[in-house]
């Protein structure tokens, strides 16, 4: 089996600071609108921790990338290490991939009329460095991992979070550690 790189995100440690988002923007100096990485709040009905629990998601470098399947000009390729790379030069801005991706991760850049997305900092990976977002996360909530059996066997590692599309569609290379809840002492 070939290798599949991906992300592991820990909602217990993530403080929602958006450092990862901004580190990505700092690295690539992207325009304001496209957000290759994005920090989301967990839904209150699922965790009852209003506005305090987060997860961070970029492209999930899926095992079955729908973006790649639908792209008419073959702008998408999947590398040996599992990274799904989008070739900005080939992209014609048709936006089929936007519709195909269950996670809304390809981002349309209205100024350039093209799509762009997280390429898992493959240039940094090839130099043996961590992706910019992972390197920037202060509480180490976001990690680069190899997605494999051993990881999925680990206690507390989840394949999805409530509210996300079923992982069966594209087999995203992302895993989660959900929030545990502190002992709450509500005054009464």
């Amino acid at each position: 089996m070939t290798k599949q790189l991906g992300f592991l995100h820990n909602s217990e440690k993530c403080v929602g600071c958006q450092g990862c988002e901004m580190a990505c923007k700092n690295e690539y100096q992207t325009d304001a609108a496209p957000r290759w990485r994005q920090v989301f709040q967990l839904r209150e009905e699922d965790y009852s921790l209003p506005t305090r629990m987060f997860f961070s998601m970029a492209c999930n470098h899926c095992a079955n990338p729908e973006c790649l399947r639908v792209c008419p000009v073959k702008a998408y390729t999947k590398r040996e290490d599992g990274i799904v790379v989008h070739d900005h030069d080939r992209c014609i801005g048709c936006r089929l991939c936007l519709m195909a991706c269950p996670y809304d991760r390809p981002q349309f850049n209205p100024a350039q009329k093209k799509v762009e997305k997280c390429n898992l900092c493959y240039q940094r990976i090839d130099k043996g460095e961590k992706p910019a977002c992972v390197a920037a996360c202060i509480p180490e909530a976001l990690q680069l991992v190899e997605i494999n059996e051993a990881l999925d066997q680990r206690m507390g590692v989840l394949k999805t979070l409530p509210g996300l599309p079923s992982p069966d569609i594209t087999q995203p290379a992302i895993r989660f550690i959900g929030p545990k809840q502190g002992k709450q002492i509500r005054r009464d």
Partner: protein, 694 residues
């Protein structure tokens, strides 16, 4: 060609990160953390990671501008020479007309905490006796509280918390405002250390602590006294107390006599059972650390709140304990030479640090000192002579001060208003002249933190954007122009080298605490001051008695209670039944905004379900919020675990012509005079009413 430079994030923030900035062909292309810095460990927060965009932002002001009529928005680009002529002409005219320099006022604070920014104070000192804003809007009451108790204001190295077996985060939200402390806290919890978070609302830090204790706003002092009472009742006092403290017997008597746990529970909202459990846990666990935040002292009883927490720490024997203590902040690492602002060499390190706007060489000058928190009010009262020219630097008072109607009145009375800034702000709308300043990527500077022990140099990475100049260059240029027009009219230097000026600020005191031989060594990278990691390790204090003072004669002499006794905060009235709390948001520092993407369309008022029910409000509905100072419209957001008697409005960027502080008066904190020359801003004592808009 790629190049890397060292910078320091200059914001009023706990972390004061060391930065490595990269340029390609002289253009700043990215920033990252400097791994040499052992506190920030090579990582930056989201605010600093926006810096490249901020430096080259289209909105940045690149040239001196003059406004054709205040609040008109008709700005006209002018040359530096014209700008300097306007400033120097006004200064000379006013000084001539009134026979002294008191009509000239400087209002400066923490827009950039770099030491070379003290050039503005230096320039004003060079003009003679002038009018100055003194004090701090931020932390004054707490600084005084710790000064009364310990003798000076000092905290342990933040890494010392890693030794704690129990950590109490009291009114502090590091997840949003000191994110580099989070790994230490998360790692501690992974090791089984209990982290208890006390706050008025369920913060992002509370969400990842072991326990959350919700405290009614302004009652933190009483809660600490309740814990102390339990420690007395359970006989868990530090057996060595008598050897290093003063007045503990009287304090214990006060606790026995006057503190009733049922009453304490009723007022603070924390049940008696919880108070007992927590107190016993705190007294029995060693080491145990309390980190007290700034919010709990922004009340009219703020200083008393922190003194009560200090006393709790002392009773349980945690003061001076490695991994213990009551941590609040420090300015012992701010031992700059003070040459730039013309400070007297005999000043104490403390006053050189944070009293930097207070001129001390009284033999030559008698400045008129106005409290930064009541500046407009006090400036309006100045009549002999009146304040006529105002220079605003590193501040945005028309957004951040209270009693904004007094600011409007003051503006009417002023002949001339100069503002130096990076961007337009609510305050620049009132200015006659806008001077564009450099960011920390465009000038030399020197920085210390008020939390960790690191001191470092900021190098210029790129040439100034547009025609912007550093505060130091501006001060030199103004002095040069003044002396050109009227020789001898300003004693501040008329030119120089930024780097040399910086090295002069690294005087013998600083060299000693940093363990350096020559000032030049600081150019090699950030340096940690060589203090022992634990504050008050030997339990020899800087108080008049040399002991930890439960009872402080100095406090009593200032008209304050000698002991940390309970003083209630202000109560809401029938007319304005809800307290307004305005905590910092992760994306901003006061009105300094970092991400245009997070700008909100509307103010968002966060209400507990109880408050929402009382006013029959649903999430998403529009409300009018008002009090006698002003009114704001916004949207309701209902959230669990918010206070039942308060509304929360985060300091977030909002597309609005009115600042959040339209709702603020200028209530003062109980303390602040001793160390900072003026009381602090009790901004959590703001009360409002609200109603649904249809």
């Amino acid at each position: 060609m790629y190049q890397t430079h060292r910078n320091i994030c200059p914001r009023n923030c706990y972390d004061t990160c060391s930065i490595l900035s990269t340029t390609r062909n002289g253009i700043l292309i990215s920033v990252e953390g400097d791994p040499l810095h052992e506190y920030t460990k090579g990582k930056l927060c989201a605010k600093a990671l926006e810096d490249v965009k901020k430096v080259y932002s289209q909105k940045r002001i690149r040239y001196p501008m003059k406004q054709r009529g205040r609040f008109s928005g008709y700005w006209e680009r002018i040359s530096w020479d014209e700008a300097l002529n306007l400033i120097a002409g006004t200064i000379l005219r006013l000084r001539e007309e009134y026979g002294n320099a008191l009509p000239l006022a400087l209002n400066k604070y923490s827009g950039n905490f770099g030491v070379l920014h003290n050039a503005m104070e230096g320039l004003f000192s060079g003009l003679g006796s002038t009018t100055r804003a003194i004090g701090s809007p931020c932390w004054s009451a707490g600084v005084d509280a710790q000064t009364y108790d310990f003798g000076t204001f000092f905290c342990s190295d933040p890494g010392d918390m890693g030794k704690s077996q129990l950590i109490w985060l009291w009114g502090v939200n590091p997840a949003w405002t000191a994110v580099h402390q989070m790994p230490l806290l998360l790692n501690a919890m992974d090791r089984g250390v209990k982290v208890v978070c006390f706050d008025t609302y369920f913060s992002a830090t509370a969400a990842r602590s072991s326990h959350f204790i919700q405290v009614r706003p302004g009652t933190d002092g009483l809660l600490a006294l309740g814990f102390s009472k339990v420690i007395v009742e359970e006989n868990l006092l530090d057996p060595d107390l008598a050897s290093y403290s003063l007045g503990h017997e009287e304090f214990i008597q006060y606790l026995r006599r006057d503190i009733d746990l049922n009453h304490c529970a009723e007022i603070t909202g924390v049940p008696v059972k919880t108070i007992r459990e927590l107190a016993v846990d705190y007294a029995k666990t060693h080491p145990a650390c309390i980190w007290a935040g700034f919010g709990l002292q922004r009340y009219t009883n703020g200083g008393q709140n922190l003194r009560a927490i200090d006393a709790l720490g002392a009773l349980a024997g945690h003061i001076g304990e490695p991994g213990g203590g009551v941590q609040y902040g420090q300015f012992k690492t701010w031992q700059f030479a003070g040459q730039l602002q013309g400070l007297h060499p005999k000043q104490t390190p403390e006053s050189k640090g944070l009293l930097k706007s207070v001129p001390q060489d009284k033999e030559n000058r008698e400045d008129r000192l106005l409290s930064i928190n009541n500046f407009a009010e006090q400036a309006l009262q100045c009549s002999d002579p009146p304040v006529k020219m105002l220079w605003i630097s590193g501040r945005n008072p028309l957004s951040q001060d209270g009693n904004l109607h007094l600011w409007k009145a003051l503006i009417q009375k002023l002949d001339y208003i100069v503002i130096s800034d990076l961007f337009h702000s609510m305050s620049s709308q009132a200015a006659d002249l806008f001077l564009p300043v450099t960011t920390h990527y465009e000038h030399w500077d020197l920085h210390a933190s008020y939390w960790h022990y690191w001191v470092g140099v900021n190098e210029p990475t790129i040439a100034p954007v547009g025609e912007s100049r550093s505060d130091l260059q501006i001060a030199w240029a103004v002095s040069h122009k003044l002396n050109q027009l009227a020789p001898g009219s300003c004693a501040f230097p008329t030119g120089g080298e930024e780097k040399e000026t910086l090295l002069k600020e690294v005087g013998p005191d600083m060299l000693e605490i940093l363990g350096l031989e020559t000032p030049e060594e600081i150019l090699n990278g950030p340096v940690r001051a060589r203090f022992p990691a634990t504050a008050w390790e030997n339990r020899r204090f800087k108080t008049p008695s040399g002991r930890f003072e439960f009872g402080s004669a100095r406090a009593e002499a200032s008209g304050l209670p000698a002991f940390p006794v309970y003083r209630p905060p202000l109560s809401p009235s029938e007319e304005f039944p809800l307290r307004l709390l305005t905590p910092h948001h992760a994306t901003t520092i006061n009105s300094q905004v970092y991400s245009s993407e997070t700008e909100k369309e509307d103010f968002i008022f966060h209400l507990s379900p109880e408050v929402a029910e009382r006013y029959a409000l649903q999430t998403g509905e529009r409300v009018l919020v008002w009090n006698k100072f002003g009114k704001l419209e916004g949207i309701v957001q209902i959230e669990n675990r918010l206070p039942r008697e308060a509304v929360i409005l985060y300091q977030e960027p909002v597309k609005s012509n009115l600042p959040l502080n339209s709702l603020m008066g200028t209530p003062n904190t109980d303390m602040g005079n001793l160390s900072l020359g003026a009381p602090g801003f009790a901004l959590n004592e703001t009360f409002i009413n609200l109603r649904k808009l249809n």
